[in-house]
């Protein structure tokens, strides 16, 4: 197996996903098969080849620092699951 059940659980935890055992089992099989396929990349000689993270050659995109109207608080909060006093409300973090 290319990826173990424990690894799937570990990675799901990093990604903040809860998987039940059936999902862990299914993903381990499917993702294992995909990762095995991806191993093909090792056939390619990439010695001295620079990696590409962006297809178009652009360096820093500068522009004038002009003041524009920002999104106002009400609209920025309009989609919040919970809000209060102009703030996003989250579950208690400090015990």
């Amino acid at each position: 197996m290319k990826i173990t059940h424990d690894e799937v659980r570990y990675v799901a935890d990093l990604a903040r996903l809860d998987l039940d055992e059936a999902a862990v089992d299914k993903f381990a099989g499917q993702i294992g098969e995909i990762l095995l396929y991806i191993d093909k990349l090792n056939e390619v000689d990439t010695d001295g080849v620079d990696p590409t993270s962006h297809a178009i050659f652009l360096t820093n995109a500068f522009r004038e620092d002009e003041l524009v109207e920002p999104l106002d608080t009400d609209r920025a909060l309009a989609n919040a699951p919970e809000q209060e006093n102009g703030c996003f409300v989250v579950p208690k973090i400090i015990p």
Binding site: I3, E7, V8, V11, A12, L14, A15, R16, L17, D18, L19, A23, F27, Q30, I31, E33, I34, L35, Y37, I38, D39, K40, L41, N42, E43, V44, T46, V49, D50, P51, T52, S53, H54, A55, I56, L58, A61, R63, L71, R75, A76, A78, N79, A80, P81, E82, F88, V90, P91, K92, I93
Partner: protein, 486 residues
């Protein structure tokens, strides 16, 4: 002929000659949606009220003599592009009730021409998929055969154009998501060069690959739409300040002086349906008849394209989708014990299986100890794929090849076999990895009556070449005129 059957260019003439009003045209399109969309599920939201308001504004502009190319034209938009005041779901439960507080730049551009937005189209959740089956709101269907996929991820937009539920549509293409559904639904789909069109307001899937583009009933219409969309945007620092040419003017009656490259790895690929092979071979003959010179070229990295893409795209997706945490927008699980539990429950319930699968692949490939072997290696292979195209374009002006190895497959056939589904993207992924523009134009039908598309690929910012080659082809063929009976 019904008004909803018009192309954009045909409707433009009738609108400007006052033979039809935008309100009449829009009502006809909305009635068409009412009558056929229950079978197709191409729309997630129909914005009837605002569409009619758009149409009234367009009619005023036409009367005032200030009409532009898209004034009064009813268009549909893939539900991954933010529309102020109109729900934008990305076909995901996590954004089911999300109403954007602003519009994408492309929407602002359409509005500045007084185009009419009739609704938001179905797609694979967060644009991840090639079949539309990964929509949280049920798959869209292929207008040519309701038991088959329309393609994906912009399947709703392609189906809507093919079924005359709009005169043109916007999609997004991260690995073929405009070109492949266009091919499967028998319409024209164009993925511009990376950076040609602003991504501001496009919900991010894989930021180095995503690009917005048009789906239309003709090459000319797609050129008109591209003219409206293209250009630098200060709100997207990856958009490129290249001048925008007059795309419709690129169409010529013949292809004298044009050299077309035939990538042998694409044309001789195993697993390509013989009917697709025959349709593409026939199209190449037609192109030669129009005066194009054809030369064989090689893209040696072709067999590694799928592997490189399915590392890079999930890596970028896993990072981009970290923002859905139940805090600022989108759904939140309200039965959580603490913050971490809230994140986990929100994301597990909000994302469908394909999105979770890709988040896991991406997170794994980026995690400590695996980064170099997966993301690093794939990024180097990406450089070599780009080098393939650079080399090929020294010998030709554009490449022609299939869009997809088969016509549209039956719904359910590949749902539980993600790797097989990924492999069907073989001919479209490379353009996104390289950043070059590509287009699909109808070039034939299978014996079962399913459309087949021809793909044209061009060097950076050479959309005009795509439009010239495909436009000339379209003028001498009838494939794009055939419409499905629904």
């Amino acid at each position: 002929m019904q008004p909803y059957e018009l192309t954009i260019s045909e409707a433009r003439k009738l609108l400007d000659q006052k033979q039809i009003s935008s309100v009449e045209l829009t009502r006809a399109v909305l009635a068409r949606i009412d009558s056929v969309d229950p079978k197709l599920n191409a729309f997630l939201t129909v914005s009837e009220e605002s569409a009619l308001a758009d149409a009234e504004a367009a009619d005023r502009a036409i009367t005032a003599g200030t009409s532009k190319l898209l004034t009064g034209i009813p268009l549909a938009v893939k539900d991954v592009i933010c529309t102020e005041g109109i729900r934008t779901t990305c076909a995901s439960k996590i954004l089911e009730n999300f109403v954007p507080p602003y519009s994408a730049t492309v929407i602002e551009k359409l509005k500045s021409q007084n185009a009419v937005l009739v609704g938001k189209t179905n797609m694979d959740e967060f644009a991840m998929g090639s079949s539309n089956e990964h929509s949280a709101f049920g798959a869209a269907r292929n207008p040519w055969d309701l038991s088959r996929i329309p393609g994906g991820s912009s399947g709703g937009s392609a189906a809507a154009v093919a079924a005359d539920m709009c005169l043109g549509a916007l999609g997004s293409d991260t690995g073929g998501s405009i070109r492949q559904p266009a091919s499967h639904c028998g319409v024209v789909g164009l993925k511009p060069t990376y950076g040609r069109v602003s991504r501001f307001g496009l919900v991010a899937f894989a930021s180095s690959l995503d690009q917005i583009g048009p789906l239309a009933k003709s090459v000319e219409d797609s050129a008109v739409l591209l003219n409206a969309l293209a250009g630098h945007d200060r709100k997207d620092s990856t958009s490129v300040p290249e001048p925008v040419p007059d795309y419709p003017a690129a169409i010529t009656p013949d292809l004298g002086g044009v050299t077309l490259g035939l990538p042998k790895e694409y044309l001789q690929a195993e697993g390509t349906d013989p009917e697709v092979g025959r349709a593409v071979a026939g199209a190449i003959q037609t192109l030669e008849g129009l005066g194009a010179r054809c030369v064989e070229v090689s893209l040696p990295m072709t067999e590694y394209v799928v592997a490189a893409y399915y590392v890079i795209a999930p890596c970028e997706a896993s990072s981009n989708l970290a923002r859905y945490d139940g805090v600022k927008y989108g759904a939140r699980a309200n039965d959580a014990e603490d913050l971490m539990d809230m994140y986990r429950k929100t994301r597990s319930r909000g994302f469908g299986p394909e999105v979770q699968r890709r988040i896991i692949i991406g997170t794994y490939s980026l995690s400590a100890g695996y980064y170099d072997a997966y993301y690093g290696k794939a990024s180097q292979v990406r450089t070599r794929i780009m080098e393939d195209f650079r080399q090929a374009f020294t010998a030709c002006d554009a490449l022609v090849c299939p869009v997809a190895p088969t016509p549209a497959f039956p719904i359910g056939e590949k749902t539980d076999d993600p790797l097989t589904m990924y492999l069907s993207d073989i001919f479209t992924l490379s353009a996104n990895l390289a950043g070059i523009p590509g287009l699909s134009v109808p070039c034939g039908f299978s014996t079962e009556g399913l459309p087949i598309g021809l793909q044209v690929l061009a060097p950076y910012f050479k959309e005009e070449t795509l439009i010239r080659v495909a436009g000339s082809f379209e003028q001498t063929t009838e494939f794009h005129k055939k419409r499905p009976r629904i």
